[in-house]
């Protein structure tokens, strides 16, 4: 039943395309989102980027999007449909769209494809990503300073490299302040389910965590923190309105500048498949204002942010893996392919990685 529903939703979402075929000279840029644009999180931020493109390039472009496209084989049809409808450049915004995009890109060599957070490329398929882990290191430091119990609750979606990298970076940040800092990790196997996220937050708080971190997309965990008088971090967008007393900061995704640049390149005919990984210094990862913390904690966060902008990488040795075997030597910096394929925990993470 759920499968059928998902298929039907994809079809319905496809019907809701805001596309018209008449404007031929305009470049048609299209987006595929895994969540609803109204999630006020990950997909919402990508859509803000799309709107930025419309604003910046005006009547030279026409945009369209498909939302709620489930990851996996269903996505094939979504990309194929967009390509057939005259989209010249298509952005797939979720990790699970990787293989479908590779497949469809082969079929439509004249269409430019872009895929976020994946690692497979093709002649007409470029990849882009944001270094969210930079922000997560700062979250870890703040959590270690703000937590009284020394335990954070960490709500996660799926064990993909992006998420594992986030957990590791958070723990490295926390341990740089308090070496024995602990994080309780709960996998909910969903990117977006406010109810489940709220339940997970409650469970973590009940077991002694007093700071909540999430790698899922809704505002629900922060709202629970607000209700309980505890603290936490937003995700993807600034969620301060939902938790004026609880939000410490939030990692905000800003895709606008990148999208504008790529669509412009497509317009000028200079587009080439790229492989970029943008961080805080590129403006793609922003930290929401540091709130609800003492000034010295805020100063520490700002100092770390500055250090990262200046080129320091949170994954700089010495770092050991979870079982204690050395991973990075003193001063050694993890290379991007290792980070993008990360499938192990660093020392101090108190969880068994689901395989």
């Amino acid at each position: 039943m759920k499968k059928l529903l998902v298929a039907l939703i994809t079809a319905a979402a496809a019907l809701s395309l805001t596309a018209t075929a008449e404007a031929q000279e305009k470049l048609k840029a299209c987006w595929v989102y895994t969540g609803p644009i109204g999630d006020f999180g990950y997909s919402y931020q990508h859509d803000q980027g799309r709107l930025d493109v419309e604003k910046a390039l005006g009547d030279k472009v026409e945009t369209a999007y498909l939302e709620n496209v489930s990851e996996g084989p269903d996505a094939d049809r979504a990309f194929e449909r967009l390509a057939r409808e005259g989209c010249k450049i298509i952005f797939g915004t979720s990790f699970g769209f990787m293989d479908p995009e590779v497949k469809v890109a082969k079929k439509f060599p004249d269409v430019m494809f872009e895929h976020a957070t994946g690692y497979k490329m093709a002649e007409n398929l470029g990849i882009y990503n944001a270094r969210f882990y930079e922000g997560r290191y700062i979250l870890g430091q703040i959590a270690a300073r703000q937590s009284k119990s020394g335990v954070a609750g960490y709500i996660v979606s799926f064990p993909i490299p992006e998420v594992v990298m986030g957990i590791n970076s958070f723990m490295l940040g926390a341990q740089s302040i308090k070496p024995d800092f602990k994080a309780k990790i709960v996998w909910i196997n969903s990117w977006f389910d406010p109810g489940k996220e709220a339940d997970a937050a409650k469970a973590l708080f009940d077991q002694g965590a007093d700071i909540i971190v999430q790698h899922t997309d809704s505002t629900a965990p922060l709202q629970v923190a607000e209700e309980r008088g505890l603290q936490g971090f937003g995700q993807s967008s600034d969620m301060i309105k939902f938790a004026p007393k609880a939000q410490l900061t939030s990692i905000v995704d800003d895709w606008g500048p990148y999208y504008i640049g790529r669509v412009k390149a497509a317009l000028d005919g200079t587009w080439k498949p790229g492989n970029v990984w943008l961080g805080i210094k590129d403006g793609a990862v922003k930290m929401a204002p540091y709130t609800n913390m003492p000034d010295d904690v805020k100063a520490m966060a700002e100092a770390t942010e500055k250090k990262i902008v200046e080129g320091w990488n949170p994954f700089t040795g010495p770092i050991a893996k979870q079982d204690g075997t050395p991973w990075l030597k003193e001063g050694e910096v993890a290379d991007d392919p290792t980070l993008l394929g990360m499938n192990f925990y660093v020392k101090g993470v108190d969880d068994k990685l689901p395989q």
């Binding site: 109204g38 629900a220 309105k241 969880d351």
Partner: protein, 306 residues
């Protein structure tokens, strides 16, 4: 002790929307109509409840709006399937899709806005009692409604004449029609009741569970409610038990993870569904009992000969 109370409260919050939506659907199915649009009606209730609460500032008005919107939305299904005798499965599915899309459109301006939350019950002297105080006297108002609703439906279906008539329609609409019972009218009322319940369940999500509006926030709970009705073999008290078992298994696995029990999280996440299957198998071992409870004319369109 405190943690036990907290866990029980969390379970109650997780079970309440499932229970309410399932109880409504149970009445609908007992009248012989299969409405697969629960998810759609629920999400309409969620957006209506949040919207009205947000615009007026009163979560109570939001609650009423959630119920009203669910009921009005189900009327669409009733007109299609009962007056125009369309296929119930197809109509129900399209109701879900319509609801998901329409609610997203209606809620565009509510995205990213914090909403009003229904306050928990607070009776001086009683709520502050240790342990049972918060469990019995300190929950959200919809929790109490859900329990009262279950009892009322139980009484209505099995202790009143109208309830008996409703069940007889569900078992054989032709016979009921021959006896002079107004089949279509009964079914209209049942479907609207189901819609109101689904709307209320949606209101619980956007006014209590997670006081916010986001698209797709029901996240499949309408389908779980539908499964619960079958799981309960169309018995109200079993729906209650089922909703709470489902909630308990779900919350339990979250705690197991947070506690660091080394079991794969995917397995833990699928536990509620596994539990449903196991119970279904156990129940359906007794064929006679299953037959007795299943409304015989479930899902069949009824066109009275004039």
């Amino acid at each position: 002790m405190d943690i036990t109370v907290n866990i029980l409260l969390t379970i109650a919050t997780a079970a309440t929307p499932l229970l309410i939506a399932a109880i409504g659907e149970l009445v609908v199915e007992r009248s012989g109509v299969l409405n697969l649009g629960v998810e759609g009606m629920m999400i309409m209730g969620a957006v209506g409840g949040f919207g009205a609460g947000y615009l007026t500032g009163s979560p109570w008005i939001g609650l009423l709006a959630a119920i009203a919107l669910g009921a009005v939305f189900s009327l669409l299904f009733a007109v299609m399937t009962l007056s125009l005798a369309t296929n119930q499965v197809a109509t129900g599915l399209s109701l879900t899709l319509l609801g998901l899309g329409l609610s997203g459109m209606m809620g565009t301006s509510f995205v990213g806005q914090p909403g009003a939350r229904l306050p928990n019950l607070d009776i001086p002297g009683l709520t502050a009692m240790p342990v049972i105080g918060r469990l019995l006297f300190g929950q959200d108002p919809i929790f109490y409604i859900s329990i009262a609703l279950t009892a009322a439906v139980m009484w209505f279906l099995f202790k009143t004449r109208t309830g008996l008539t409703l069940r007889s329609i569900g078992d054989s609409h032709t016979s009921a029609h021959a006896l002079g019972i107004r089949v279509i009218r009964y079914r209209y009322l049942a479907v609207i009741f189901g819609g109101a319940c689904a709307g209320l369940a949606g209101g619980h999500l956007s006014l209590v569970y997670t006081p916010q509006w986001v698209e797709n926030m029901t996240a499949g709970r309408g389908w779980i409610a539908l499964a619960l009705v079958v799981f309960a073999s169309w018995r109200p008290w079993r729906v209650l038990a089922g909703a709470y078992i489902f909630g308990a298994v779900w919350i339990g696995q979250l705690h197991a993870q947070a506690f660091g029990i080394p079991v794969p999280s995917q397995l833990l996440s699928s536990l509620p569904y596994l539990a449903t299957i196991v119970v279904l198998v156990l129940i359906s071992r007794n064929k006679r009992l299953t037959m007795m409870n299943t409304p015989a004319s479930l899902g069949q369109p009824f066109v009275p000969d004039r």
